[in-house]
Subunit: 296 residues, 2 copies
């Protein structure tokens, strides 16, 4: 694996069909799943690691975001990456935030409502990665379902010849969706945190049993979450995968998303529901502790 | 020359080094100069013809914008184009204006102040042409100096691997910068319209004689224009070519821009001044009537 820090350098090394896995580093098994899928589908796999200042609302979050270039490099290489693209902030934003890409309504509601400007930052940096690296395929986790919709909208609206692949969420053995934030959840809050994925598995059951009404699916989540008094629920929504627009019934691929805070840690999770097959994507589960906890 | 109306179709036909000339059609010698330059520098020359709804403020202007596909096709082909790209509005905006690309301060002031939202429309459609057609070089006229700066900012900020070439303004034999609007200027207003280019030639003289102070150059334009009582001057500005930021002195490539209205027709013009060579780009002049007036 080669590490480069400029767009020109990365383009020169990329050959044949190019798969891009954009990340903010501090890789876990969710990212590795994206890289492994990219490896199986492309000639060149590029993993970008860039903690994008533009998508952080608060300077403190940006400064304390975990970074470990050596660890990321070893993990990406083992998972099959050919190129690690690690641009500096100055290379990515030589003129700061002069150009902004906004995807309009797709970025409103849910996470967009909770984090104003966040998806402008995501859309702008992804547009830049697509423009500068010219990948054929790009891989994003389904855990960030609205982000995936933002990227799909960006690609459709700006005609990028990039195929966008949403990859199943990787969960810890107990069901908690993988996130670098999971290490901040202590023992006493773990059961509360698990209420998110538990409620979504009930939604998956109901959907696969034939339920298509959003109101009913939302109620299943809300009633399940009501059992966890330590959880502050932020939102429960049912939205189309294509554009994150909330829907009353599931007649095209959609996701049921939940967000909440437990012990000061904000968590999000979702299940993707596909009415064409009648199946829910519950994600995959690790069989041993995540590398987030110091394993390898 | 082949005519295609989809991004995929255009990309499939393009081979080797690709030069793109984005236009809104109704071609005149200014466009033909861009196409001829592109012809001399590339393997494949793509001319796009798309009247972009997003860059029009008023519906009436959009509806009355002149269109003649047959004429454009013949002219582009004669000038050396290989591919004419004529997407429909539905192909370009299947989801209307969901994604917007804004270049911030570069789009403010001058034409941006006169036409709110105009440069968002320009930046968005150009980003889409660059993303979807993946040209190596793109050609724009210097007559639209702020638009050229907007495109340069877009390319720098989104890392498009596109070389942007600004091409000298083509003027009618009497000096009036070519514009499809020129046909709306009647005999009685022609002399007034010429005051724009006349004033800019005086600026070019002063610059080449060593003048570098923006205030002095602006005053030359204002004093010259004051002789034309029929002209309503909108602005006279001195700005950097790179980002359209107004400057007090010319220490990098800059342009002196003037905008005004005569007989209900809004006209813009400028000269580009290069301190590294000490020369002004006054544009080139036709030696016979423009094809805008019905010649060929």
């Amino acid at each position: 694996m080669k590490t480069v820090s400029t767009f020109n350098g990365a383009r020169e090394l990329a050959d044949g069909r190019v798969g891009l896995v954009p990340t903010m580093g501090y890789l876990h098994e969710g990212h590795l799943s994206l890289i492994e899928t990219a490896r199986s589908e492309n000639d060149t796999v590029v993993v970008s690691v860039f903690v994008n200042p533009m998508q952080f609302g608060q300077q403190k979050d940006l400064e304390t975001y975990p970074r470990d270039a050596g660890r990321d490099s070893a993990l990406a290489s083992d998972a099959g990456a050919d190129i690690m693209f690690t641009p500096s902030v100055e290379h990515m934003y030589p003129f700061q935030h002069r150009t902004v890409v906004s995807v309009g309504t797709v970025a409103e509601g849910m996470e967009g409502a909770h984090r104003p400007g966040h998806f402008d930052g995501v859309a702008t940096v992804v547009a830049k990665l697509f423009a500068g690296l010219q990948p054929d395929v790009a891989y994003f986790g389904r855990k960030d379902a609205q982000q995936l919709a933002v990227v799909r909208a960006l690609v459709a609206d700006l005609a990028f010849p990039v195929s966008v692949r949403g990859i199943s969420t990787v969960r810890e053995a107990d069901g908690l969706a993988l996130s670098s934030r999971n290490v901040k959840i202590d023992e006493t809050n773990r059961a509360t945190a698990l209420s998110l994925s538990t409620s979504l598995m009930l939604v998956a059951d109901a959907f696969e049993a034939g339920e298509r009404k959003s109101r009913v699916l939302r109620d299943i989540v809300r009633q399940s979450l009501a059992l966890s008094q330590q959880l502050a629920v932020d939102h429960v929504e049912v939205a189309r995968s294509a554009d994150a627009r909330t829907v009353d019934a599931i007649d095209a691929e959609a996701f049921v998303a939940v967000a909440g805070t437990v012990g000061g840690v904000r968590l999000i999770d979702n299940v993707t529901l596909d009415p064409s097959t009648g199946t829910a994507d519950r994600g995959t589960r690790l069989t041993r502790p995540s590398i987030l906890y110091g394993g390898s």
